[in-house]
Symmetry: C2
Subunit: 407 residues, 2 copies
DNA sequence: GCATATTGTTCGCGCGCCGAACAATATGTC
DNA sequence: GACATATTGTTCGGCGCGCGAACAATATGC
């Protein structure tokens, strides 16, 4: 029951029906490939005649191609259709506090190359260096393949529409128009996104949909807590392109100081930093960026903490369990507000899921308003490599498959 | 950039284009009536020829009608079109702790009659009584008009899909299938919704859209805090139809006990009850339903408190300001999570907006992640009568105008 | 060789947008 | 009053497109 926006709508022209059906066909092929025209027609509940034409057009647009012929018990053998993703490339960039991650991948998300190097904080130098690396990376590829854009993930506030980094405290960037700078240096389209939303995009566009999970929240626990909201198959970006920041909802207005400047954010209770602080007895409120840098180089991570807990370190276990409880309390609030089909969980702490699940679930039950809501599926994202980078790639690949705007 | 759900989509048939355009035309007429065919064609950027046919169909369906002829400086005078709403009726029911509100209105939201009576807590008696009152109310109307359904608003958890009241503590109802009971007693279609979401529906479907405000949050501060989220012109209902409960996000995990059973919910800090409790020095944690009942009959409301504050009662002013600060802190979290185009505010406390605006804004700035976000428009809903009842009516009227499902 | 089954293509039909022509209706001007 | 002009609303041929049915292509089993 969506209301039509009478100040900004698209009427249906005589090509609209076909545009819609062609795009649906592309998506069905994408999810069920390899698939024959006849099967496609059955899934779409259309006649083979129409599907045949749709397929012809998609082939003409270079979006799909005919593969091998399949087997059939009787009758003519089907011609399999595949989405053309192998030779459509995207460059993904994930700029983080210590390291910058660079990946080349195709439109299906398959990795073709990864580079990790120390982050350069000076914007001009960073851009120049990045352009050089991308050029080199693309040269390594075969000729047929074409790079269709660069997706950039930044930890902080980003205006996806203008491509500006509003505020990325970890990098010390404020009001940096990173998109035009990289676009100018590489001569490629550039899209910029925040890390939490990027992960949600990756889940939406590059992972196999387990159920009809068209509404979900992605929660990534790392140094901070990044989140992205997907409703009805659409990433929520918001008026100022800063939507989705569950990490900074309060658990206690007078709680520990958070990186964002406020007090008692969820992030300040359940992030990796919070967990380590709890273990080592640090006062999170007094940690300066300098301390953080030292800690990174110190290189004792939550993964190490989990290992200690597994070998019987009671203090480690209690630090992890405390963070898990806060994790669950935050998830309960997400459930009360969004009531999503599922919540995806990522981050180092999920490696201890067998240890913490019970605590997380119990905490959720403490604050969810119904028992059914407390049973919201929690899906641990399998140690999929580089979710942020995959999200950056999804920024480039998604427009090819997105639903056309209608009404 | 919406992803197509490949397990549940609608292909475009040869009538889809017209279905879409007909519905768009209906909505444009609705928002700009009276309007001529020629004007409609200009607004829709279609030829008059097509619009003429669309209009003919809408008239045939009884959705619009031709009115008077308008004036034109030169040339043939236009025939004005109007949406037929006067003789399409809806019954709205708002069941609350002390009183039940019953309203008859047309599809434009115009009130034709209101009845207020003591709430009957026994479900069979309530139903029987309600059916009798509705029958009588409808008899009072002219013959031509037809009632197309009953919208029911319940304070608590409601599954809109099944029509069941999951848990309404104020009424003591749990697992009551109120929809089929009322439907059976009245022989009319019944839709049930939670109060916060109903208010959001009313704002979306029955109020003139000030801007292209297709994404907003409605916050209603009364005994509790009810909220509804509208994203891209669609009310968020969620997997279990309990989405939108910002009222129960925590401001402090160890804060005062809330009606919902958890501690430190936003509601427990900024609701009318919380404000009054602050003024009278009550301990909210220890208030039983019985106390609440007494307080209601006591009939000292937040409106009285505001009056006292205006006449110089410093204690009253400080109680109001304290609630306002918590209101702003909660709004900041809403902004960080949803980043809506606007937030609509309703409830008694908005009558003191001139007094509290500064406090609310300052509190928002404390926790919003960017300054732009802190400037999210706050729209005080003009003392529109009975927002819940209007939402109940919107439940019945909305399907007539909603966008058709495509792709 | 023939019946049968399945895939993929082609074609007539009717729906619906598009553009243009046309009818209807008004105002101004000579 | 005749005529030019302007605007609204209708009609009609052209063409895009889904739909159903017929047909061609291609396989298996007897």
């Amino acid at each position: 029951m969506r209301k039509i926006n009478t100040t900004n709508f698209s009427i249906a022209t005589r090509t609209t029906a076909r545009d819609i059906n062609r795009r649906i066909a592309l998506n069905v092929i994408r999810e069920r490939q390899p698939i024959s025209r006849a099967d496609l027609a059955r899934h779409m509940k259309m006649t083979r005649g129409v599907v045949s034409v749709l397929v012809q057009e998609l082939i003409g647009q270079g979006l799909i191609y005919e593969g091998a012929t399949g087997e059939a018990a009787r009758g003519r053998k089907p011609t399999f259709l595949h989405v053309r993703t192998q030779d459509r490339l995207a460059v993904a960039v994930d700029i983080r506090f210590t390291k910058t991650y660079l990946m080349l991948c195709d439109f299906s998300g398959r990795q073709l190359g990864v580079e990790i190097y120390d982050t350069v904080f000076s914007v001009p130098e960073f851009t120049k260096d990045l352009a050089r690396r991308i050029k080199k990376m693309l040269k390594g590829q075969g000729l047929g393949a074409v790079c269709e854009g660069i997706g950039v993930v930044v930890p902080g506030m980003v205006d996806q529409r203008t491509g500006k980094v509003l505020n990325a405290p970890a990098l010390g960037w404020r009001g940096v128009d990173i998109r035009s700078k990289i676009a100018a240096a590489t001569n490629l389209p550039v899209h910029v996104e925040n890390s939490g939303r990027a992960c949600a995009l990756a889940q939406l566009w590059l992972e196999k949909a387990e159920t009809a999970g068209q509404s979900f929240v992605y929660v990534s626990v790392s140094d901070g807590v990044g989140t992205g909201i997907v409703m009805n198959g659409e990433l929520i970006r918001g008026r100022d392109h800063i939507a989705g920041e569950f990490g900074h909802m309060p658990l206690d207005l007078d709680g520990p100081r958070c990186m964002c400047g406020a007090n008692g954010c969820w992030e300040a209770y359940t992030s990796n930093l919070a967990t380590l602080a709890r273990y080592f007895g640090w006062n999170l409120s007094q940690l300066s960026p300098k301390h953080l840098k030292e800690m990174e180089s110190n290189s004792f991570t939550v993964l190490d903490l989990i290992a200690r807990a597994r070998t019987g370190d009671a203090k480690a276990l209690s630090a992890i369990k405390a963070s898990s409880r806060f994790l669950g309390l935050g998830l309960a609030t997400i459930v009360n507000i969004i009531n999503p089909d599922a919540i995806y969980l990522a981050g180092e702490i999920t490696n201890a899921w067998d240890v913490i699940e019970e605590t997380v679930r119990a905490a959720m039950l403490e604050r969810t308003l119904t028992e059914a809501a407390a049973r919201t599926p929690l899906r641990i994202t399998p140690a999929q490599e580089y979710p942020r980078l995959r999200g950056a790639a999804a920024l480039i690949a998604a427009p090819t498959f997105a639903a056309p705007r209608v009404a």
